[in-house]
C-alpha cells in the first residue's frame, strides 16, 4: 500500500512537471505575470543574496589564506577563491537562500490559495490557473536564478578582494587579473546553466507543494515546509550531477 501510494505520487509529480513544461512552451504565454514574478523573485532575494555572498567571500578568503600561506602559495589566493566561488559557492549559496526564501513563499502562497479555494475559483471560471500561477513562477525562478548567481559571484569576489586588499593591499587590477586567468568559460557557463536548474527545481517544487496543499491551515504550513526541504535536497542532487557532467568537459 505504501509503495503503491509512493508510485502514485511519483506519477503525479511527473505529470505536474510535464504539464508545466508543456504549458510553458505552448501558447498562450503569460508574459505579464511572468515578468511580474521575475520582479518579485529578484526583489525578494537580492539583498539577502548580496549580504550572504559578500560575507561568504570574506570568510572563505580569510580561512583559506593561512593554509595557502603555509605552502608559500599565498599568491594563489585569487585563483582559488574565484574558482571556488564561481564553480560552487556562488550557485550553492544562491540556490539555498532562494530555496528558503522563494520556496517557502511560493509554497505558502499557492498553498493558501488552494486551501481557501482561490485556485478552484480560477478553475471554475475558466481562467487557467495552472499557467497563470505555476508556469509564470517556474519560468521566473528558472530565468532569475542565473542572474542572481552572477550577482552573488560578483559580491563574493568583491568581499574576497576587499579582504585581500586590507591584508596586503593587493590592487584591484592585479586581483581581478588573477581571477580572469584562472576562471574559464566552462566554469562560468556551467554555473549559469546549473543555476537555471536550481531555479527550475525551486519553482516546480514550491508550486507542486502549494498546488497540492491539503485542506486546512496546517496544509499551508506543510506545503511551505515541504517546498523548502525538498528543493534544498534537490539542489544538492543537481549540484552533484552537474559536477559529474561538467567534468566530462574539463578534461
Amino acid at each position: 500500500m505504501k509503495i503503491r501510494n509512493f508510485l502514485i505520487r511519483i506519477a503525479d509529480i511527473y505529470r505536474f512537471v510535464a504539464r508545466a513544461v508543456r504549458e510553458t512552451i505552448l501558447p498562450p504565454y503569460e508574459w505579464k505575470e511572468t515578468l511580474h514574478q521575475c520582479f518579485v523573485v529578484g526583489n525578494r532575494s537580492l539583498f539577502l543574496i548580496a549580504f550572504t555572498s559578500f560575507l561568504a567571500g570574506v570568510v572563505f578568503t580569510r580561512q583559506s589564506r593561512p593554509s595557502l600561506a603555509s605552502f608559500g602559495a599565498e599568491s594563489w589566493l585569487p585563483s582559488l577563491v574565484s574558482q571556488a566561488v564561481i564553480r560552487s559557492l556562488g550557485p550553492l549559496i544562491t540556490g539555498l537562500i532562494c530555496a528558503g526564501k522563494l520556496g517557502s513563499n511560493i509554497g505558502a502562497e499557492l498553498g493558501s490559495m488552494r486551501v481557501s479555494e482561490q485556485i478552484d475559483a480560477m478553475e471554475v471560471s475558466g481562467t487557467r490557473p495552472f499557467s497563470y500561477l505555476v508556469v509564470s513562477r517556474v519560468t521566473a525562478t528558472t530565468l532569475m536564478l542565473p542572474l542572481l548567481v552572477v550577482f552573488a559571484d560578483a559580491m563574493a569576489l568583491l568581499g574576497s578582494y576587499l579582504t585581500v586588499n586590507t591584508i596586503n593591499s593587493t590592487g584591484f587590477m592585479l586581483y581581478f587579473n588573477d581571477v580572469s586567468v584562472s576562471v574559464t568559460y566552462v566554469d562560468i557557463f556551467s554555473s549559469i546553466i546549473k543555476a537555471g536548474f536550481f531555479g527550475f527545481a525551486i519553482g516546480i517544487v514550491g508550486c507542486y507543494a502549494g498546488y497540492h496543499a491539503e485542506r486546512g491551515t496546517t496544509g499551508v504550513g506543510r506545503a511551505a515546509n515541504t517546498a523548502v526541504v525538498a528543493s534544498m535536497i534537490l539542489i544538492f542532487i543537481v549540484d552533484l550531477l552537474s559536477l559529474q557532467f561538467i567534468n566530462l568537459f574539463r578534461r
Binding site: 479555494e117 478553475e123 471560471s125 475558466g126
Partner: protein
C-alpha cells in the same frame, strides 16, 4: 451574453414533468466516495431554465461535493452529468473551460483572490476569458457588476478589508460579470447575520428575475430556502430524498428533515 429563454416561469415547478420547461442541467445516478466514506450514493436532479432550485441538507451530506462534481472540480465515481448540453465527465480541458464560462460558481468561503483588489478580482475573468483589456470597457463592466450587488463603494478595497457578507457579494459579482446561464451558490448565507442574509437572498432572486439565470442554491438555512426557492430538493444520506415546493417539503415527516423546519 444572456439569451432570453423560452420560458421564465418562476412559480413552483413542483418537480413534476413540464414539457415546456427546458432542462439546463441534469444529474443522473451520481456516486462519490472518499476512501471508505460514501458521500453521494445515488443522486438525481434536473434544473429547469430560469428557476431557483434549493438543495437542502445537513452539514456533511455532500452538497458541496455535488456541485463541485457538476463543474468538474471533483470527479465522481459513477453517474452522468449534463450541463447545457455538455457531457461534463467526457470533456477535454478546452471544452470544460467553454462550459465553465457559462456557469457561475459562488464558493462557500467566497474565494476572493486576496492579493488583488475588488476591481482586479472582477477584471481577472474578463481579461483572461474574454480578452478584454480596454480600460474603459473593463471599468464599465466592473462598475455594473458591483452595482448589481450594491457594492460600488468597495471597488478599490482589498478583500481583507471587507466583511463576510461583502465578500460573498463580491464573489457573486465576480461570477455574474461573465453573464452565466447557470449559477451555483454554495451556502450563500452561511455565517451571516439575518439582515445581511436577507440582502443576499434578495440578490439571488434579483439575479433570477433580471438575468433569467437558472440557479442551484445550496443551503441549510431554512429562511434562505423559503425566500429563494422555486423548488426544493432535500439531500439525505447520499440520496435526493424529497423534492417539491418549499411548502410541500415543509410538511415532511422524515426524521432527518423535520428538524430543519422546527426553527
Amino acid at each position: 451574453m444572456i439569451t432570453p429563454l423560452q420560458n421564465n416561469r418562476h412559480t413552483s415547478a413542483a418537480g413534476t414533468q413540464q414539457a415546456d420547461d427546458a432542462v439546463v442541467a441534469s444529474v443522473r445516478n451520481l456516486q462519490k466516495s472518499f476512501g471508505d466514506v460514501i458521500v453521494l450514493r445515488d443522486v438525481n436532479l434536473d434544473l429547469y431554465a430560469g428557476e431557483n432550485l434549493v438543495i437542502l441538507g445537513r452539514s456533511g451530506t455532500g452538497k458541496s461535493v455535488l456541485i463541485k462534481c457538476m463543474v468538474g472540480l471533483i470527479k465522481p465515481d459513477a453517474g452522468s452529468i449534463n450541463i447545457l448540453g455538455y457531457d461534463v465527465l467526457k470533456l477535454n480541458q478546452d471544452e470544460l473551460n467553454e462550459m465553465r464560462l457559462q456557469v457561475g460558481f459562488s464558493f462557500q468561503g467566497s474565494a476572493l483572490y486576496d492579493s488583488m483588489t475588488v476591481r482586479q478580482n472582477l477584471e481577472f475573468p474578463l481579461q483572461r476569458n474574454l480578452g478584454i483589456f480596454d480600460q474603459t470597457e473593463l471599468n464599465e463592466r466592473v462598475v455594473n457588476a458591483l452595482e448589481d450587488v450594491g457594492l460600488e463603494s468597495a471597488i478599490d478595497k482589498m478583500p481583507s478589508e471587507l466583511s463576510g457578507g461583502m465578500k460573498k457579494r463580491v464573489g457573486i459579482a465576480r461570477t455574474l460579470i461573465l453573464n452565466p446561464k447557470i449559477m451555483l451558490y454554495d451556502e450563500p448565507t452561511a455565517g451571516l447575520d439575518p439582515i445581511t442574509s436577507i440582502e443576499i437572498n434578495d440578490l439571488i432572486v434579483k439575479v433570477r428575475d433580471k438575468y433569467k439565470t437558472a440557479s442551484i442554491i445550496i443551503t441549510h438555512d431554512i429562511s434562505s430556502a423559503r425566500h429563494t426557492a422555486d423548488r426544493v430538493i432535500a439531500l439525505v444520506g447520499g440520496y435526493n430524498k424529497q423534492e417539491g415546493t418549499f411548502d410541500e417539503i415543509k410538511q415532511t415527516t422524515d426524521p432527518e428533515l423535520q428538524p430543519f423546519f422546527n426553527y
